[in-house]
């Protein structure tokens, strides 16, 4: 244990910002406002921190970000080993277009929060957190950390990894995703109640108040109404003429929640528009393709999906009356509804964000080596040619087709 280290760090924070009583203990989910305020979820201290990075400007007009073995690079710059760093989330600065990573260095009580920028020349820079102007909003009704998950009954005995999962405190799901929209910060996660799936909204600049609503939804695959498992990722889109949340749950319903229903203390019924198929969604990114608004959804256990936002307008809302009773899987029923198309991807997605209108930046596992890379892919071809060996890679093919373009 290194108490001295922790004290030192908190002392540093306190002396710089006497006005900011809220401690910073970890940095998780990230979200930028268009002005360049970076919001970060802190599950341990139970707060949303806002870092003013609005002064940042574009240094290079067009660039790609490719930082291979990014976890090893992060570890090296922090003076530690790969096993001692965890990349929690990624976001792109709206002005500079550079990539920010929230990172944890170390484990348990030795863990320290880190914010790293991968700049336009693919250099890693550590943001000196003590010198960035920060304000924080404390979250109410958070799980206190004393209650863990359970080992779910399955047909086989629980594996070591399943047992490890059951040891996680429920508090780990308290802040899942953050979105900034028209002067407000929206946070998906859970509260300490039994009906715990929650959406919080708070004005920015923070004024010490937040509104907490609980969310219920019909889960097609599980054939039940659910109130606990939180929204994993969400976006705010204009659908049916009003601002609505498009939210993804595990296993994997997609629901709509009108923002005007998110009032403090409200129990909100989400509209289930479909199900993307079994698995756990990771990120949702809004982008435009050939003039159409699209949503790119990544999953930890299936290929990403591209969903046209237009298809969610006037879409059917599914309830238990639309199905025979019983669970549904990929093998029989799913996907259901206007859930777009599955698309290829440059490996197993861990994090994704829109780097510029034409490209995504993603942290993913390489399909062949498993290395963790930060890579840029086109929105039209979200893959890299090194992942595929095809007809067009043969020299004879190139020879035969060398005059094609001239025709």
């Amino acid at each position: 244990m290194n108490l001295k280290k922790l004290l030192f760090l908190s002392a540093l924070t306190f002396t710089t910002f006497l006005v900011n009583a809220q401690e910073m203990k970890t940095l998780g989910a990230l979200e930028f406002s268009p002005e360049g305020i970076l919001f970060a979820g802190d599950k341990i201290s139970g707060a949303i921190h806002a870092f003013d990075l609005s002064a940042e400007k574009k240094s290079i007009d067009k660039f790609e970000i490719n930082a291979y073995n990014v976890d090893a690079q992060v570890a090296a710059t922090l003076g530690t080993s790969v096993g001692n760093v965890k990349i929690n989330d990624m976001a792109v600065h709206p002005k500079s277009g550079e990539v920010y990573l929230s990172v944890t260095r170390g484990h348990a009580i030795d863990a320290l929060p880190v914010l790293i920028k991968v700049n336009a020349t693919n250099q890693l820079q550590i943001i000196d957190l003590a010198s960035v102007k920060r304000t924080s909003q404390t979250l109410s009704k958070l799980p206190d950390g004393s209650q863990n998950f359970i080992i779910r009954g399955t047909m086989a005995p629980a594996t070591i990894k399943e047992i490890e999962k059951s040891k996680l405190p429920m508090r780990t799901l308290s802040i899942m995703d953050i979105e900034y929209h028209k002067g407000e910060v929206f946070v998906a996660g859970i509260t300490n109640e039994n009906f715990c799936s929650a959406l919080r909204r708070m004005p920015y600049p923070f004024n010490g108040t937040e509104s907490v609503s609980n969310i219920e939804m019909f889960h097609i695959a599980h054939d039940e109404y659910e109130t606990r498992a939180p929204i994993r990722s969400f976006l705010i889109e204009n659908i049916d003429g009003k601002d609505q949340m498009v939210a993804a749950y595990t296993c994997s319903p997609l629901v709509l929640i009108p923002l005007d229903e998110l009032k403090n203390g409200a129990k909100v019924k989400a509209r289930t528009l479909g199900d993307m198929g079994n698995g756990q969604p990771l990120d949702m990114v809004s982008f435009s393709m050939k003039g159409n608004n699209m949503i790119f959804v990544t999953s930890n256990s299936r290929t990403p999906r591209v969903i046209p936002v237009g298809g969610l307008n006037k879409a059917k809302v599914y309830t238990e009356n639309d199905f025979k009773r019983g669970g549904k899987t990929d093998m029989d029923t799913l996907p259901v509804g206007p859930m777009g198309r599955p698309v290829m991807f440059t490996g197993s997605a861990l994090h994704i964000a829109l780097l510029n209108p034409m490209e995504f930046a993603t942290i993913r596992r390489d399909p062949e080596t498993g290395s963790m890379d930060l890579e840029t892919v086109s929105i039209f071809f979200p893959n890299k040619l090194n992942n595929v060996m095809a007809e067009m890679d043969f020299p004879q093919y190139a020879e035969e087709h060398k005059n094609d373009k001239k025709k």
Binding site: M1, N2, L3, F8, G79, S81, L124, S146
Partner: protein, 365 residues
Amino acid sequence: MSKFEFILFFLIINISGVVAQATPDLFLPKHQDGVVKLIIPDVLDNREHVFGYNRLAVFVKNEANEYTSNNAIKGKHTKENDFLIFKPYYPFENGMTYVIRTKSTNSDPYSYKSFQTGKKKSVAKAKVISIYPSDNRLPENLLRFYIYFNTPMKKGEALKHIQLIDAEGKSDIHAFMEFKQELWSGDGKRLTVLFDPGRIKRGVSTNNSRGPALQQYKQYSLSISGAWQDVYGQQLSKTTNKKIEVVKAYRTKIKINEWLVKKPKANSKEDLTIHFNSIMDFALIQSMIHLKDKEKNEVLGYWEILNHEQQIKFTPEKKWRKGKYQITVDARLEDVAGNNLQNLLDHNKEDKDNTDTYQFIDFKI
């Protein structure tokens, strides 16, 4: 500091074994929060962030021996007198091998030196080290236990793992006070477990309905489950049981005039011992009793708690001088039932507190 002084200083710290040193131009960090210092003889320009990295950079040692700006540890370079100083943004880690790349002057080739700040601490196996009161014979109105662990424990689940079990093996789930915030020491290694005072205080509703948690002449066991994990996720590995034999409740204030003080001889370094007539609170003994000389200065020496917190011993640093001494006892000192010098834990409203904040035992050697 002149070069000569510097070399002398370097020799001294080297002899003391604190720092391993290769070239006298370089100071290595002595601990995880340390910095790397390089003596720079020539004049530097003001672009510290530029020259800083070229002249002094630190890396995690890698197999390829490849050290570039891409894998340099990020931190701040500053200049103080002849020193160029590098402080990493995040502290060094014990067990890691680092490589310092330096250039004393701009025209020199790079030289490399590796170092460690210390050995990696392996996390000790989690266990209960001690439980206080340490005696097995404890009064019916016992107020609290202190449980000491060797590593910080997972919080928020203490009462899931701590049970009071009677001779028939039945667990009393209402024995202890449930707090929203458990009573942990700052380092997470000491837990204070309070008996529900409602069960101890006579005439209070839970005392009437459930009776005291501990009953005189009966036997119990305080059980700490081996399933409890520390913050690193390792279990205590075995269940710890402390046997308790319940004796008569403590129903008097602490009366220091009943304590037995064994005086040492003048001009000796003999121990001074104090025998209490009951078991004192382990934590409070350590801060509530002081020994002063006739000038009211604290006598320097070491206290030791003995005989299951029923006795303390003082060993002076210097020989006892002839003269008057005074043992000062803070009135907040408690016995294991929470009775202090001023009152009982469960006193009647009309009982007048003894309001002295200190009481004294004077003696002469």
